[in-house]
């Protein structure tokens, strides 16, 4: 802290340039983040329909409806399960493949890296369409490869699995790249010491790599959880929440209530719950990662 203060002692007060930038930043982020959150909060106590121009005070009704709604609890449950599974696969696949790529036994490392990262950079909506066809029971690739006859997107047992498969396929490459970067930044002498002590590769991974990589693992876990809590595009394109309510995720429920039913008040209450939920999750994650860093 002290060093930082010293570094800026030569700093300039900035004059007009600083004032313009600071004012624009404050105005912009207030207008598009802070005020919207306040409006969502106020709107949640109102009967609010933008098509009819309706905005009348309702009290706690929307909130009662949210917490009494089966669909809300179901979507929260779905979201948590979805986020947990998708994050686990991303971390495990990322760790396994990056360790494999890190090994001296592998040639063409950069080629593998390029290929694994390819799904992550391709546009999600378009890629989701491709997967819609892959899951199709008539023309689809997946049933042909697995020799099965599953109607992936219209069978409530499999629809969520389908969305998970797409998500895992799309995102694992990012974890591989990040973990590989983490592996390359680890001190080599730890490995040499472990090797001298006769640790085999599994033991080295468990007792040397994993503890050293912990900050990177936490980074992936936190960012993945936060982004998976907000997933809705695959649901919009593949299943629209169906079959029945099998693939309702919280963000999709908000979209559905707001922009297909135009229940802005009710959707605002849902949005605020999601906001608080993610804020709490983020807070917990930072606590956890903060405490491991000071260890």
């Amino acid at each position: 802290m002290h060093a930082r203060k010293k570094k800026y002692r030569g700093g300039h007060n900035g004059g007009a340039l600083k004032n313009i930038v600071v004012c624009s930043l404050v105005i912009f982020f207030s207008a598009f983040v802070v005020i919207p959150i306040i409006v969502v909060f106020i709107g949640s106590f109102h009967q609010w329909n933008p098509l009819k121009g309706e905005f009348s005070f309702l009290g706690l009704d929307n909130w009662k409806k949210v917490f009494g709604s089966d669909l809300f609890w179901l979507s929260m449950g779905n979201t948590v399960i979805f986020a947990a599974i998708a994050t686990s696969f991303r971390v495990v696949l990322g760790l396994a493949l990056s360790s494999a790529l890190y090994s001296k036994l592998i040639k063409y490392k950069s080629l593998y890296r390029i290929l694994y990262y390819l799904p992550t950079i391709t546009p999600l909506v378009a890629v989701t369409f491709v997967w819609k066809f892959i899951f199709d029971p008539q023309i689809g690739l997946l049933d042909k490869l697995l020799q099965t006859n599953i109607n992936w997107l219209f069978d409530s047992k499999y629809a969520m699995i389908a969305i998970l498969i797409l998500t895992i396929w799309k995102d694992f490459g990012y974890a591989v790249i990040i973990f590989l970067g983490g592996l390359y930044s680890l001190p080599r002498d730890c490995y040499e010491a472990a090797e001298v002590d006769g640790a085999n590769s599994m033991q080295r991974f468990r007792w040397v790599t994993l503890p050293l990589l912990k900050p990177t693992v936490l980074f992936i876990v936190i960012t993945s959880l936060i982004s998976y809590f907000q997933t809705y595009i695959p649901v919009m394109v593949l299943t629209q929440g169906g079959p029945g309510t099998a693939t309702y995720l919280s963000s999709y429920l908000i979209f559905d209530e707001a922009f297909t039913k135009y229940n802005f008040g009710y959707a605002s209450a849902l949005s605020f719950v999601l906001f608080v939920f993610i804020a709490i999750m983020t807070g917990i994650s930072f606590k956890v990662s903060g405490s491991t860093q000071t260890e």
Binding site: P119, V125, V127
Partner: protein, 291 residues
């Protein structure tokens, strides 16, 4: 177990270990190749199918490669649905957003890194914390705001809420902190004003971050779906990703056409990626260092 340990001396062991290495090398390579195939299979299947006829796509017995390569699907799609127009819309939109955010991120990062003023740290923390707010949470008020400003169905509604990005400001602040104060002071002594210091001294040194932000911002804008879907009403102003959905709703049985349409949306991005792949991978690693 003990026997094995003892064997680890001498030449015999070397042979054994070499064999073990070779086996694990083969296994590792097989796993990695298998994963690569699974990763790119959807793309290859998409491209192959876009050259097939509808009859061939839905035939009972299928081959992976098209029997005869036809370009009719692409022609049909471009005639039926003005994909070229949507493609250009997306391209122009993504380019505009990218250019604007690079500039605003750089200048904000510079101000937050190099000037001393009260509340600087607070402002920076506040900007970072906005990254944690899910987009879908604020979408209702932002939509009504656009409605009240009568910006719906104009590009203002797309561009203005994206002028600043917290991610870009964060990256640029990191980059600006690395520029020595002495360099700026030297320019000031030579009589340069603050705007000149930024444009002539600071900005040219930020090219690495400019490239990283450009790549990500461009892809994010190209991928934007929900916001354009909500605020743009007229067909001819729409973005490619939304048009894809409209097309699939209208021509849901024209599989071949849909494959061609998705290829149009995906292949340029893939080429862009393959050309700049080194920059991409550096950029991701750089953006994660904060962890």
């Amino acid at each position: 177990m003990k026997k094995k340990r003892n064997l680890k001396l001498g030449n015999v062991v070397d042979n054994g270990q070499q064999k073990k290495f070779r086996i694990s090398s083969v296994i590792l390579n097989i796993v990695l190749i298998l994963c690569s195939i699974l990763t790119i299979l959807p793309f290859i299947w998409m491209i192959c199918s876009s050259f097939k006829t509808n009859a061939e796509i839905s035939a009972l017995v299928q081959s992976f490669l098209p029997k005869k390569i036809i370009f009719d699907n692409y022609q049909n799609v471009l005639q039926k649905f003005d994909f070229l127009r949507y493609f250009l819309n997306s391209l122009v939109y993504a380019l505009i957003i990218t250019v604007i955010t690079i500039y605003t991120s750089a200048i904000s990062g510079f101000v937050l890194a190099k000037y001393r003023f009260r509340g600087r740290q607070l402002l920076f923390t506040f900007i970072l914390s906005t990254m944690m707010v899910p987009g879908v949470v604020t979408i209702i008020p932002r939509y009504t705001m656009m409605q009240q400003l009568q910006w719906l169905d104009t590009y203002k509604a797309l561009v203005i809420p994206s002028i600043f990005t917290a991610f870009g400001i964060f990256m640029m602040r990191q980059a600006c902190t690395a520029i020595p104060d002495e360099m700026l002071d030297a320019a000031r002594i030579d009589g340069a004003g603050e705007f000149r210091v930024f444009h002539r001294i600071v900005f040219p040194q930020l090219h690495n971050s400019v490239v990283s932000i450009a790549i990500f911002q461009f892809l994010w804008a190209w991928d934007d779906y929900l916001w354009p879907y909500l605020v743009i009403r007229s067909g001819d102003k729409q973005m490619l990703s939304v048009a894809l959905n409209l097309f699939s709703g209208r021509y849901s049985t024209d599989y071949a056409g849909l494959f061609a349409a998705t290829s149009i949306a995906i292949i340029p991005v893939v080429i862009f990626y393959l050309v700049f792949q080194k920059r991409f991978i550096e950029g991701v690693s750089a953006s994660a260092v904060k962890g």
